[in-house]
Amino acid sequence: MGCNRSVPDRRSERVIKAAILIQKWYRATMARIEMRRRYSLSIFRSIEYADEQDQLQLSKFFSFMLDHYTNLDSVSPISTSPTDPQVVGECLHITEFEEKIDVPDSYYGPRLSFPLTVGDANALIHAFRNKQRLHPHYVLQLLCETRRVLKLMPNITHLSTSYSKDITICGDLHGNLDDLLLIFYKNGVPSEQNRYVFNGDYVDRGKNSLEILIILFAFFLIYPNNISLNRGNHEDYLMNLRYGFTKEVSSKYKEHSTQILYLLQDVFSWLPLATIIDNKVLILHGGISDTTNLDFLKALERNKLKSLLRPPKSAGGRHDQKEGISTTGLSKHTANQHDAGKTQHDSSLSSTEPSGSNLPAGPTQEEWKQILDVLWSDPRSQNGCKPNKSRGAGCYFGPDVTAKIFQRYNLKILIRSHEFKREGYDISHGGKVITIFSASNYYEEGSNRGAYVKLDPELIPRFVQFQSSKHTRSLNILERVGTIESSALKSLQELIYAHRSELISAFAQYDLNGTGCISVPDWAAAMESVLKLELPWRMLRPRLAQMNPDGQVDFMSCFYDLKMDQPIKEAQPALVETLCRYRKDLEIIFNIINKDNSGLISLEEFSQTWRLFTSHVGIDVQDDSLDKLVLSIDHNKDGHIDFNEFLEAFHFVHRVEEKENS
């Protein structure tokens, strides 16, 4: 009714339009940030799984080396048969440590007295919070005592909810002490009224694997019937060699690390395989397969399997190691496996292990497969049971497999861990399968929450999430995703740089005119074929390589961001890259050979090992180039090299970081 009214109307119309526009734009922006977060997690996961596959191939090499390479007249304790007598042999009683290892008066850390009490456990928590170290004397005592008690436990622990209110189940911790302490803070420490099941993977990747074990073992000794510690696939000395636990122990306990690790091998093999609550809830680390047989699992001798990555020797039978561990998929090393496999078969008859009737028989093929399935499998939504191709061990099991097992054993829920979950937990197979993952910030600060699940006497699950944080001020989403993304991209760039020569020749095949530029689809195809990672390359392209004005990819720009820490002039680039790529593996191998922990290895040993390694994994390296390189490293020309120093040289540095730090 007049001019006055039309102005506010027009304005409010404008306001509404503006609001819609801003909302549209904001939602799109947030979606793209979410996409960046997701592909970062994809990158982490792909690299992790590819790494695990490599590790499995490598473990075959270890086995091959250990069984077949008779030139090594003695090997370090880590590689010998677990029954080899050592300081920490079967018969050594706990008090003998007191004679062997002194605890000086100057030691202010916790002093444990057995049988342990809650006071001891609290002292340990307090000490580790303050970054103290437990004296090796007590570590060994604790491990010995833990082994003694674990031996009394059956393969499958049975718990009942009738005594306590709830039972709390935790998943992978992977050395994140902060997460364990956060769980105890939120949920209370273990006690008779506060029962816990820990579902494996206590160690590797994080920095405090040993502290976690010590705390959990201490509580286990105090309340052996109220805390259950299942074995995970990382409770395995071959995994530990690669994924950081062995290194952690060696650096924290230089002198006594060998004994500690040796004893741990045994302790791990005595961890129970599963826990069942009220005969209805099955808790185990990985999953199940269509052949999983709980009665069989109950009856076998679980401690025979020290490492799941060493297939059992079949005495003169057909070579069937490949049944359990997948040899197809993204593996690059298929060609040489057959050779290695054949020789392994032949060598099984002439084993280098001491023979004798006092040696217990090794695990059978069936035992190995049953445990492998339980510790390595993952649930999937498709029916059926297929080999787990992304991990290379265990199966993918579908809802039909779950249903059958449930019917057979009258179960209601399967609780497992083993897989990273952004929210710390996940429910699948129509509510029958729960995944619980308790390592928050697993890939990077802000990457995920951790969670634990509480079961009440009605067996209704209740989830509690948490996230330990280094930052006192919480980051906003842009900052969080930025952190995760840059970390993921760094890892990817290092991988790219480690395959530089291969990538350049792949790119060159598309670059017919030698312009240095190729199309985006060609670039993506080359990346995928060389790195063998299924990633959204087109989406990642702007973060990895530059584009010229014509819309073509300048492929050499992939390598601008990184360089070798110390340029190595003596060697051809392909060799340097190979050493970079396998640096961690070589470290493990050299440590195995290095009998006296001196860090030194003879040139002869180095060359021999290197030749074996490269032929096994199928790398083609010219003989003399390595010799030249090694000679240049042997500074004092005494025929020995410090292999740690040697390997340190094969190290990437990000140029951006350099600029920031200078």
Binding site: L21, Q23, A31, L478
Partner: protein
Amino acid sequence: MATAPAAAMAEKESAEDGRVAEIEKRIREAFEVFDRESNKTVDARDIGCIVRSLGCFPSEAELRELLAKLVQEEEDEEATRFIHMEKFLPVMTKVLLDRSYWPIREDVLLHAFEALDENKCGYITKEDLVKYLTEEGEPFTEEEMEEMLSIALDPETDTLHYRDYLSKLVVDETKIFPFHV
């Protein structure tokens, strides 16, 4: 010569095919990031994110329409929760070829913020921002509003200086993750 225009046509067609193939590849990539079990399906609730990360700016209403197209023939309720790649690909390809939901230009966005800035002082107060965005248009949820404030708001004055905000979020972010690869 009769063949020249035909050859040119053929070349143009194959270039067009190449373009479509590239678009399809990009769609597959985005889809696969959300395809957690690698079985060619994603949760329907993730479709919005996928569409937007491919450089589109649909409104909530437009998204609902799109989703309706994707679950058109499904009667089974379970089936409507998961979208299969084979259904998504042709629909999304058309969206990208037709340039539906095309990006919002920075200057247009600036005008939008200015429309909310009554006094033209270069900033919007927290109260006004919350009022407009949670009451008008396609309202933000509490969570969305909080998130935007945590990035955008100057905590000392409780105001949004939209020019700075845009340069932070639009310019930097587009460099990182451009709309069109």
